[in-house]
Structures are given as structure tokens and as C-alpha cells.
Symmetry: D2
Subunit: 139 residues, 4 copies
């Protein structure tokens, strides 16, 4: 059964996306209703915000791979995003993560962002690292 | 002489960063005072917001390379970001862009994000494409 | 019907991979029998050679998208590769490309490299640009 | 005093580049005399071979950061390359690495590839992981 997580972090409250976990495929989803407050100069979804929700979906997917509640913290080490098509305001977009490989410490994760018409907006790949308590660096 | 641009886009208003242009090196800057509203689960600057301001600084740098007012629109084609160190809330961070190559249509741009103590937080590389009027795709 | 292309370029002769086109899915394949001559310090397939055959499969896939003979030249603009697992000498590895988006000038392409046991060795994303005659730069 | 390392690995013998260590800046160099055997369909340096020598220079730079002889093994986790300009056959190209951040386990490294006229051919960023004995995966 899926569960919706809202307003967990400052960024989530600022951007207004929701996180959805509990899918059988293990992939977390982030949903965002694209409004003017997410637009860039071209009047479409800002690439940075697209990246933010991809990052969130991919990080939460990393966490779900070791913790069914998705609470185990992972840090983004590197992320590469391809911007395939503009996402229009007024549409809902959804980012989804998928683990492609890795081991105890590092995970390789793919993400894709689609709009409500299932148009592919962006794809991403990232490396995520399991955070250890007391660690303040990323590497 | 440098000039500050505020509140130009929805994303800029939502995230609260300012854009600074007019530096002799041609590189645009984006400044953000990191607050709780920009934090991730670890209580530090969210990687997606770090990416958003890097993207903005790099896109504005692209625009400045052909237009001193920085208004000529460029679209982000692809962007790769490395997260080197966490940026703490309460600190100001600054993203700066630098053109490394390209031609009439595509530009290769580097970015770096530092905090007010000049600690390197993230680096990025991206490809930006000059937008043509009437074009609705990115490629 | 699939077709094998051998020894077309200096790099292909040097590295010894073969290119296979004509698959119904439109994706070109590159096959390499990994030998000591492709090994790195760890005695496994060198990441650079993994990247070379991924690049070739992705570039040829770009070409096939506009020319069934796969002769139309495309240039690699940017490429990001994730190294998931080592590829052992004595194994055959296969890289395959897949178009994810793009338009008349730029294509977004994904690649994956698997070994003969279908183990995922590396994944890649890239942006490819259709080459125009007489152009000597990449952008 | 700098030292030249030749023919250390199968890949090095196949591609014919040399590795140079001992520079005061800590950055390893790889030099390659670009010939027809390194050319792609366009008759210029193959992007995969450009990536291979960038990868080597960056990996050796990682190793030099903990071992002055540059023997400590590091594995490439992810690498992103931007292809700015073609490298012509008959020219010598040089790749150089530079550490930008990291810690005990992971290093963030930048690379650049220039030709003998100091023209920037390609830039790269990568994440490298210190290899532990007995480990057979990459993460």
C-alpha cells in the first residue's frame, strides 16, 4: 500500500511536492503540480526544480532499498540530468527512482520525470551514499 | 559595474536567490542565504536547490556571452553536479558560471558553488542551447 | 536482418570491437571480447574502453534514427557513465543504445553495457549532435 | 622530478599513451600522440579514447593524493565528459587531473584534455573510490 509524505523538509514545504512510497517496484515517486512559482524565464518548469524532485525520488528510492519506511539517510554524491522536453505550468509531473546497481555503501540510481500525459521531461542518473551518524562530509 | 536582479521568475521568488551580472570575467553569480526552507533531511542545503542556483548562474553566464544585459534565452540541455561538501543553514552560498567552449548554438559551461567561507560546496558542468523563438522543444 | 560492421575506423581496429546494426528496436550494438589488451590496473575492463564502446553504440544508434544504413555522422557532445560492476577478461561484453528524446539537431541517448551473463557492467547517458558538412567544431 | 610510466597495463599498451607523475601540483598527466589508430568516423580522436586517457590521468591523480608513487588503486565510480573541440591526428594531446574534494573513501576529480597548441579538447569530472583488497564490486 502506498503512503504519501508531505512537508517533511524545508525544501519540500518550499517547493510543494509530495513523496509517495510503498510501490511494489521499490521506486519512490515525487509529484509536483507545476505552477508559476516553479517557472523559469521560458515560463516552463525550472530545470533546477526538476532536478530537485528527481533527486528526492532517487534518494528516497535508495533509502527504501534498505529500509521499508524510507527513513535511512542517503546523500547525493553526483547527479547528471538530461532535459528532454519542457514541463508546462498547470500540469502534474512525477519523478520516479530505480536502483541499477551498487553495494553496501554506494548505490547507482536512475530517475525519470514524466508529466501527466506520460511525456518524458527529464532523465537522471546519480550515485548515492549511505550516511553514517556523526559524518559531516559527503565522501 | 555589477547589477542585481531579483524576483525575475517564479522560481527565483520561491527560492529567494538573487542574480548578479556585470562582472569583468563575464560570469554571472547567484547568491542564496541558506535557511531552513532550503534544507534537506540532513538539515543542510538540498542538492536540488544547489543545482537550481548553479543552473541559473550557468544559464545567465551563457546569456551574457552574447548579450551584455543577459536577457538572451538559453536552455539547459544537460547538467552534471558533484556534491563535495554540505552547505549549512545560516550561511550565504554563491554560484558562479564560466564558459569553457562552444559555438553559435551550444555552449559548454562550468559552475561552482562556494559558501561565504570560500568552501567549495559543489561543482557542475552543463551544456546550454540558445533558444530560438517559436521553438517548443529543447533539441 | 542484422549486419556486422568491422574495422571501419582506426579505433575499431585498435580495440577490436564489432558494430551490429539492423535490430528491430533501432538500437545499435557493439560487442567486444575482453582480453588482457583491454585491462586496467585491476585486471578488468578499462573504464575508458567501456566508455568507448558505449559511445560507439550510442552514436550509431543516433545515426540509425535518421539513416537505416547508420552512416549519417553524429558527434558526441557530452557523455556520463556509471561503472556498476567490473567486466572480467575472457568475457564478451555488449553495449546497446536507445534514443530517449531529442529533435532535428540533438539526440538524447542512453546506453547500457552487459556481459555475456547479462550482468550490468555500466550505464551511460549522452547528447549527440548531427554533424553538418564543413563544420569543424562540435557546437 | 617527473617520472614516465609506459606499458603498465594492457590498455596502455593497446592505446600507446604514457603516464607522467611527479608534478608539484599533484596532478598526473597522460600523453597520447593521436594517430589514425585513435580516429573515429570523422577522422579525429575518438571520444572514447579521449575519455580513456582522461580517466587514467584522473585515476592516477587520485592515487597520487595518498601515495607518492601513484600505485594505490582507485576505481572509477562515475565520469562525465564534455567534448569541446576535435583533436586532430598528428597532434599530441595531454590529459591532466586535479582533486576538487572528497575524503577517505571517495575523491572528486576534474580532468582536462588539451592538444599541443593548448586548445581545450575535452573536460571531465569523476568520482573515484579507493579500492580495498578482496573487494570485487565497485560500490
Amino acid at each position: 500500500m502506498t503512503e504519501i509524505i508531505r512537508d517533511e523538509t524545508g525544501t519540500q514545504r518550499t517547493l510543494g511536492y509530495v513523496l509517495e512510497i510503498g510501490h511494489a517496484d521499490g521506486g519512490a515517486r515525487c509529484h509536483l503540480d507545476v505552477g508559476e512559482e516553479h517557472a523559469n524565464r521560458h515560463g516552463v518548469l525550472h530545470g533546477g526544480i526538476a532536478t530537485a524532485i528527481l533527486d528526492n525520488a532517487m534518494g528516497a528510492t535508495s533509502s527504501l532499498s534498505v529500509d521499508p519506511r524510507g527513513r535511512e539517510p542517503f546523500m547525493t554524491i553526483t547527479m547528471s540530468t538530461q532535459f528532454l522536453a519542457p514541463a508546462l505550468t498547470g500540469k502534474r509531473v512525477t519523478a520516479r527512482g530505480r536502483i541499477t546497481g551498487g553495494g553496501r555503501s554506494l548505490l547507482f540510481v536512475e530517475g525519470e520525470l514524466v508529466d501527466e500525459d506520460d511525456r518524458l521531461i527529464a532523465t537522471a542518473t546519480g550515485v548515492f551514499k549511505r550516511a553514517r551518524r556523526g559524518q559531516d562530509g559527503v565522501a
